[in-house]
C-alpha cells in the first residue's frame, strides 16, 4: 500500500517537473504543427 502511495507521488512530481518547462526535455511540445504546414501547404510538390 505504502509502495503504491510513494509511486504515485513520485510519478506526480515527475510529471510536474517534466511539464513545468513545456519546450524542454523529452516530454515537450514538438514543432509538428509547423512541419505539417511546411509539408502539406508550402512544399510545391504537395
Amino acid at each position: 500500500m505504502e509502495l503504491w502511495y510513494v509511486v504515485i507521488i513520485g510519478v506526480t512530481v515527475f510529471l510536474i517537473a517534466a511539464m513545468d518547462h513545456p519546450f524542454r526535455g523529452t516530454l515537450s511540445i514538438s514543432p509538428q504543427a509547423f512541419e505539417i504546414v511546411l509539408r502539406t501547404l508550402m512544399t510545391p510538390s504537395s
Binding site: F23, A33, F34, V37, L38
Partner: protein, 182 residues
C-alpha cells in the same frame, strides 16, 4: 510588512520557511511536552491516533500536489494550443497571400516558407535550451514591411488585403504568446 521575502532567492526562501515552521513546532513541543503529559492520561492506542494524524497530512499533501500537477498540465496544454494556433494562422496567411498579384505573391510566400523552416530547424532547438533566437523577429518584421507596402488596386484586393492583415495580427499574437512560454 513581509514584502522583503520577495527579494530573497527561492532556494533560500524554501530553507527559511522550512526552518521557521519546523523550529516553531519543535519549540512548541519542547515547551509544552511536560504539561501535556500531565494533562493527558496514558493511552494505549497512541499509535493509532498518530496514524490517523499522518493520514490527514498525507491527504493534504496529496491535494496540494494534485492541484499543482493540474495547473502545470493546463499551462502545458495552453502553450501547445498556442503553437498549433501560430502554425494554423501561418498556413491561413499563406493561403491569403496566394491571392496577391505577382511578383509580391512569390516574395511573401518565400518569406513564409523561410520563416517556417527557420522555426523548425533553428528556433525550436534553441527554445528547447531556453533561448529565444533573434532571427524570427527579423523575418516577421521583413514580411510585415513588404505586406504593408502593398497597395490594393481593386475592391477585391482591398478586401483580401484587410483579411490578410487581420490574419497576420493573429499570427503575431500567437507567436508572442509562444515566445513568452519559452
Amino acid at each position: 510588512m513581509f514584502y522583503w521575502i520577495y527579494g530573497v532567492p527561492s532556494l533560500a526562501l524554501v530553507a527559511l520557511f522550512s526552518v521557521t515552521f519546523v523550529g516553531f513546532v519543535w519549540l512548541g513541543i519542547i515547551l509544552t511536552r511536560s504539561r501535556v503529559r500531565r494533562w493527558v492520561a496514558p493511552e494505549e492506542d497512541w499509535n493509532e491516533i498518530m496514524g490517523l494524524v499522518l493520514s490527514a497530512y498525507g491527504v493534504f499533501y496529496g491535494i496540494v500536489l494534485g492541484l499543482i500537477a493540474v495547473g502545470t498540465h493546463q499551462n502545458f496544454e495552453e502553450l501547445d494550443q498556442t503553437v498549433e494556433q501560430e502554425a494554423a494562422t501561418l498556413g491561413t496567411l499563406y493561403r491569403d497571400v496566394s491571392g496577391y498579384p505577382e511578383p509580391i505573391q512569390d516574395e511573401l510566400q518565400a518569406m513564409q516558407r523561410g520563416y517556417c523552416r527557420f522555426i523548425i530547424e533553428e528556433a525550436w532547438p534553441a527554445q528547447q535550451r531556453g533561448v529565444i533566437t533573434e532571427g524570427g523577429t527579423a523575418r516577421v518584421t521583413a514580411f510585415e514591411q513588404k505586406l504593408l507596402a502593398f497597395e490594393p488596386e481593386t475592391p477585391g484586393q482591398e478586401v483580401l488585403h484587410a483579411e490578410t492583415i487581420r490574419e497576420f495580427n493573429a499570427f503575431v499574437e500567437a507567436r508572442r504568446q509562444r515566445l513568452y512560454g519559452v
